[in-house]
């Protein structure tokens, strides 16, 4: 009798240990955001392999491509829900596409673990949806983190003038007015001019900026413009004390170009971060893919799957509501630092993962990106003024 009971307990234990869970993944694997989407997928697959290797849970990923396009994302999401019959979806990298998914998400009601979609318009779209877990900081967190750095530059280095070069699309233009106001409130004189992404022609604007003699050249745009701006700023003799860029991703190999030296920017993660989780992630990533990534979407995807696996383990069930309950109370260390969910600052959504504190400032120094601000994350002091001369 005792043996039979023991056998039953063992069986139940094994069944629990092998809790198989189908997870839908919807990411931009083609289109404008494919680089970030593929990085995120690499992180997700790496974490799923690690989770499956432990035997505590079995995650089966069903991956679909949203094409960075609402018209492709909606049918792809519907397929996940009705054909693949998943209850949990990881995705939502691009804000516009994620907004388009708000209707189908509310219709089918999955547990939605959102990797990106920083625009607070998305926050409004999912207001009141109970199974919405947003890991990435919102856009107002990004602004707060950047302003903290500008406050430091003003206070510690006496920076007083900012020239803002922003692309005229949604990424560069959204909130530019608020940005200007906030910088002026910090005591800066601000001159801002828009440009068209990919135009490659900045000399006219940069020459106008030269007359303004800014301390900081602040560029908000896409990777394609990084090199032309760094080159043409030197050509027109603009001598800011800091070139600060805020693209969603930096050009591949930019660090190897001497023109990148002293250029600063903001990110949520770098492989050189010294926390234990980050080091573990970098090592595992290198082992699986034979390279190191600098895309922070890779550890973000990794973090989401790891947190999901812990929640599944804690819930002891495949039920999305029980997993959501477990996720809501989860505390864990991640490559970005500690993760715990709380209501968003506006109170519109209930489960917000990371905030402004995961962002930090880096500088291209001697061929790689080094954290320089805030002090607790800095591996090197900020080089200010930077040297932006034609050699």
């Amino acid at each position: 009798m005792r043996k039979a009971l023991g056998f039953l307990v063992l069986l139940a234990g094994l069944a629990w240990a092998q809790t198989a869970l189908k997870v839908g993944v919807i990411l931009p694997l083609s289109g404008a955001s494919a680089v970030s989407g593929k990085a995120a997928l690499n992180g997700i697959q790496l974490a799923a392999d690690e989770v499956n290797a432990t035997g505590k849970a079995k995650l089966e990923l069903v991956v679909v491509d949203d094409g960075t396009d609402a018209a492709k994302a909606v049918p792809a999401f519907t397929k996940l829900m009705t054909v693949d019959k998943v209850d949990i979806v990881i995705g939502g990298l691009v804000s516009g596409v994620t907004f388009a998914l708000s209707g189908p998400v509310k219709q089918y009601g999955p547990l939605f673990l959102v990797i990106g979609a920083a625009s607070s318009v998305v926050e409004q779209a999912f207001e009141g949806y109970p199974l919405f877990f947003h890991y990435h900081p919102w856009d107002y967190h990004n602004v707060a983190a950047a302003l903290q750095f500008f406050q430091y530059l003003n206070r510690e280095h006496g920076a007083k003038k900012v020239a803002i070069l922003y692309e005229d699309g949604p990424f560069g233009s959204a909130g530019i007015g608020v940005y200007k106001q906030q910088l002026e409130k910090l005591g800066y004189q601000v001159q801002a001019e828009p440009y068209k992404t990919g135009s490659g022609q900045f000399t006219a604007i940069l020459t106008r900026f030269r007359a303004f003699a800014p301390d900081i050249l602040y560029w908000i745009g896409y990777d394609v413009d990084a090199l032309p701006i760094a080159t043409q700023a030197r050509q027109v003799g603009l001598r800011p004390k800091l070139i600060y860029g805020a693209p969603p991703s930096w050009p591949i190999g930019f660090e190897r170009n001497p023109l990148s030296n002293d250029v600063a920017g903001m990110t949520a993660w770098l492989p050189t971060l010294s926390n234990a989780e980050s080091r573990r992630f970098v090592e595992a990533y290198r082992k699986k893919y034979g390279e190191v990534t600098e895309e922070y979407m890779a550890p973000m995807g990794y973090t989401i799957v790891k947190s999901l696996a812990l929640a599944v383990e804690k819930a002891g069930s495949n039920d999305k509501n029980r997993i959501a309950e477990a996720l809501a109370t989860l505390r864990m260390n991640t490559p970005f630092g500690p993760l715990a969910f709380k209501p968003s600052d506006t109170g519109k959504t209930r489960y917000q993962g990371f905030g402004a504190d995961i962002w930090f400032q880096f500088q291209y120094l001697e061929g790689s990106r080094r954290p320089v601000f805030p002090k607790d994350k800095a591996s090197r002091p900020l080089r200010y003024p930077g040297e932006y001369y034609l050699r």
Partner: protein, 305 residues
């Protein structure tokens, strides 16, 4: 007699779309309805582009008409409801077409194409800068009829396709076709024949823009969100011209077949090939353009001998 031979095909496609929600498609039903929704909209766009192309004009303004319709309907829908908002969006697109046409339709071929491209760029910039459009942050749009009927968006897109097909069919089989063909082949000769060339081009552009505007309005109600870069995308205009070239220009059946095959093919390749599907998609497109200069419907013609 060509008319009679094409009608069964047209009817077949339209009937298929009308009955799609009721076909026993099993677990694939909801997915195919979503795919069908976008096939209908993009096919309607292609039909509306072809309507303009029949006068020999290469329009790159269809993205702008789509965006005008989308924003017009999206802005008005919360205040007046779905159908009046869609009609308003179509009229805004039509007004845009009249404005563009009255200034540029004396231009020919590539000159008109460049002017229409500039028109799209201007409108996109306006949508980015004007506060009431939501600017670069974008514009949330409510679902049709408050979201109470799940098939509403599908049947609205079917309605747009039906209207586009009817307009295209009328233009193909009425005396208007002769005026369009004469204008396309030689404006000077057409004038000698008594065709009021600018008026024919303007009417074609107006009708095309109304359909494109309606497509944009319905698109916004499905995706629930508009951004200037999405709504006024040049990609929409390019898609609208690729489909008729793929299916067969200057006809109703060509864009209809082209839309169903091309948009459906893209979805299928995305499912089966995943990464790198664009390589296969591009190769098929090139092969069809190289070996079927009359598009897919050219196959039907050949078969008939």
């Amino acid at each position: 007699m060509r008319e009679l031979s094409h009608l069964p095909f047209l009817s077949f496609f339209l009937l298929l779309f009308a009955l799609l929600p009721f076909l026993p498609l099993g677990i694939w039903g909801a997915f195919l309805l979503d795919v069908g929704f976008f096939i209908q909209l993009f096919t309607a766009m292609a039909l509306s582009w072809d309507l303009v192309a029949r006068t020999g004009q290469l329009s790159l303004a269809h993205g702008a008409f789509f965006g005008l319709g989308a924003y017009g309907a999206g802005l008005l829908a919360p205040h007046v409801g779905t159908l009046p908002a869609l009609v308003f969006g179509a009229f805004v697109a039509g007004a845009g077409a009249l404005l563009l046409g009255s200034v540029t339709l004396r231009l020919h071929g590539l000159y008109f194409a460049i002017a229409s491209l500039a028109f799209s760029e201007v409108l996109r910039t306006l949508a980015l800068k004007l506060a009431f459009t939501g600017g670069p942050i974008g514009l949330p749009v409510p679902p049709p009829f408050g979201g109470v009927w799940p098939l509403a968006a599908y049947y609205l897109s079917f309605g747009v396709l039906l209207l586009a097909t009817a307009l295209s069919h009328w233009a193909e089989w009425s005396p208007f076709r002769l005026a369009q063909a004469a204008t396309r082949q030689s404006e000077a000769v057409a004038r000698v024949l008594g065709v009021r060339v600018v008026r024919v081009k303007l009417w074609s552009l107006l009708l095309g823009s109304l359909v494109a505007g309606l497509s944009g309005g319905v698109y916004g109600m499905k995706t629930l969100f508009l951004s200037p870069y999405d709504a006024f995308s040049l990609g929409r205009a390019v898609e609208a011209l690729v489909i008729p070239i793929f299916g067969g220009l200057y006809s109703t059946l060509g864009p209809l077949v082209g839309g169903v095959v091309l948009v459906g093919l893209e979805q299928a390749l995305r499912l089966w090939i995943k990464e790198g599907y664009l390589v296969v998609y591009g190769a098929i497109l090139i092969l069809v353009i190289l070996f079927l200069p009359r598009g897919l419907v050219g196959l039907l013609g050949r078969r008939r001998g």
